[in-house]
């Protein structure tokens, strides 16, 4: 099934949305659905039962917040941050923060390096990393993941998590330090990570 091609460019689309034109709905969907879908899938996992629900909620949030988009970043980046915020609120709401640390969809989506023993080793390493992440205070763990793993900048993370940039920076620094300390204190995990390779 081929994706629909939006019929309006970004400027026309934004103008139509701000004017309250409901006929812009299809154009908005076709323009931003891919980035919304990718963001939700990456943060929650493709096979999460709430994927479609959250994607739809993110689209609605984009409509309600479109007046706040000032072009300070690309529309894709802005929509990605809105989607991440929806996922973040959902996870906090459901107190399933440990799902992000579970081994289900994330690893299933990951490309397989080698079969059998190598995969088992990678999974074991990831499981232990996730376990340590789960012992870190949720806000710090999330900030670290959003920044270092998922690539959001501090301004976006502040918006996603509802704090100031300074608070996001503090959480990131502390989250990184605590994760390092926990792994360093794990005599089995530290060598496993060393064996996985040098940091990029």
């Amino acid at each position: 099934m081929r994706p629909h091609v939006p019929t309006l460019d970004d400027t026309q689309l934004l103008d139509a949305l701000r004017a309250g034109d409901p006929t812009a709905a299809a154009a908005l969907h076709d323009r931003v659905q891919p980035v919304v879908d990718r963001t939700v899938a990456r943060l929650l996992g493709r096979r999460d039962v709430d994927h479609e629900d959250l994607s739809q909620l993110a689209l609605i949030e984009i409509v309600y917040g479109i007046d706040l988009f000032r072009g300070e970043c690309s529309l894709d980046s802005w929509c990605s941050a809105i989607s991440a915020h929806v996922v973040y609120k959902h996870i906090r709401r459901r107190q399933i923060e440990r799902r992000i640390f579970e081994m289900g969809d994330g690893l299933d989506d990951a490309p397989s390096a080698r079969s059998d023993g190598r995969d088992l080793s990678i999974r074991s390493t990831m499981r232990r990393v996730h376990t340590h992440l789960a012992t870190i205070e949720e806000n710090k763990a999330w900030t670290y993941l959003l920044h270092d793993v998922f690539g959001y900048d501090l301004r976006e993370i502040a918006k996603i998590t509802g704090v100031t940039m300074a608070a996001a920076q503090t959480r990131l620094t502390r989250g990184r330090r605590e994760l390092h300390e926990r792994i360093a204190a794990d005599p089995e995990l530290a060598p496993m990570l060393e064996a996985e390779g040098e940091p990029s």
Binding site: V63, Q95, R99, H180, D186
Partner: protein, 389 residues
């Protein structure tokens, strides 16, 4: 700013587990659903803007008119037995917004969002509320098994009604009141003005909040808990006042009401182990979850109780109440010694004790190493033991 080494290594490993993924193309049906939701959101936003301009134009007179509308059109309190609505029992996997016979008042700035396939908003009588549309006062939102819905208020307050929930919008305007007839509600209440109020009513209690995050739930009556009240409240942030039987209790972040009562959860298909406090009235006529067997239901309920108890302890820790958190972890471990969360609770307790009570922390560390000789926190436990007593 340099990144600690093991964090860099962990990041590299985690990036493999969470790779960038390609977008999937939605089915035509899913696309149409999403477009319909977007259209409704666009219309609702335009309506809200129009109303905002109208109120601004009227100025002080609009404020007086709104107060008068609240007094004149104030609806009777929703019946406490949860059967006031005329809606028939619902089939699973559906959500219905039901409107009483009274004509709709000025549309409330309260927008309903029902999530995807697990909940749908259907019409009752001659009125319908589609996803993204405003809900007038007196309307009722009911979610079936597996569904949930969000109500967004113009004040910034957001309510989330989980599956098998029953919520009636009793009042809107300066005083906003919702009645929880069944199910589980999470309320994130925005900071209100001096003349504004927000309340949740259950069958036997009224919970008033001002700028906070809390959960309300009804559980089966237990004579040993709060003299048999079916209401349970847990506060995440801010302050909540609970009024019941002529008494008033003030709850702060991390507090639950009644104090010391377990908050059982309704089993939800595909739900994660951790759940939130909810309210389920004893008189609810919601159909039992067909996917749940008696055995599965019992273990899911116990696991949910464990998660609620654990989450309450973590909330106390997060709010800076270390002694309170320690007490909660103690209670958790006493009640659920074999829980999957027992090791985590033991580690958390050990961490909290270390700066407060070295002797007890050492005992905790010894106990941890005895119970979990290969546990992930064994290095920390040994470190506590190696410190001078």
């Amino acid at each position: 700013m340099s990144i600690p080494r093991y964090t860099q290594l962990a990041t590299k490993a985690l990036a493999k587990a969470h790779p960038r993924v390609a977008a999937s193309t939605p089915s035509p049906e899913a696309r149409e659903r999403s477009i319909a939701a977007i259209k409704n959101a666009i219309r609702a936003k335009a309506q809200r803007r129009t109303r905002a301009r109208w109120w601004t134009g009227l100025g002080a007179a609009a404020g007086v008119a709104a107060a008068a509308a609240v007094m004149i059109l104030s609806l009777p309190r929703t019946a406490s037995n949860g059967t006031a609505s005329v809606a028939p029992p619902l089939p699973p996997s559906s959500a219905v917004a039901v409107f009483p016979g009274a004509p709709a008042s000025t549309a409330a700035d309260i927008v309903a969002h029902a999530a995807g396939n697990h909940a749908s908003i259907e019409s009752a009588g001659d009125r319908s509320v589609a996803n993204g549309q405003t809900m007038p006062r007196g309307s009722r939102l009911v979610t079936g098994a597996g569904g949930h819905a969000t109500l967004t208020f113009s004040t910034g307050t957001e309510l989330t009604l989980d599956d098998t929930g029953d919520l009636t919008l009793v009042e809107e305007g300066l005083t906003q009141i919702v009645a929880l007839g069944g199910g589980r509600l999470r309320a994130q209440v925005a900071k209100l003005g001096a003349s504004q109020r927000f309340m949740v009513r259950t069958t036997d209690a009224e919970i008033e909040v001002r700028g906070t995050v809390f959960r309300v739930r009804s559980a089966p009556s237990d004579p040993s808990c709060g003299a048999g009240t079916p209401t349970r409240v847990a506060v995440e942030e801010g302050t909540v006042i609970v009024r019941q039987a002529g008494k008033e209790a003030v709850l702060h972040a991390g507090d639950t009401w009644p104090e010391g009562c377990a908050i059982a959860a309704t089993a939800k298909p595909n739900a994660p182990a951790t759940v939130l406090a909810t309210t389920v009235t004893p008189s609810t006529t919601q159909a039992a979850d067909p996917a749940a067997s008696p055995g599965a239901g019992a273990s899911a309920s116990t696991l949910a109780e464990q998660n609620d108890s654990f989450a309450s302890a973590v909330a106390a820790k997060t709010s800076g109440d270390a002694p309170g958190a320690i007490a909660r972890f103690d209670a958790f471990l006493a009640k659920y010694p074999g829980s999957p969360l027992a090791e985590s609770a033991t580690v958390q307790r050990m961490h909290l004790l270390a700066p407060l009570d070295r002797k007890t922390a050492r005992e905790a560390a010894e106990g941890y190493l005895a119970a979990y000789p290969n546990g992930l926190a064994r290095a920390e436990a040994r470190s506590i033991l190696s410190d001078a007593p």
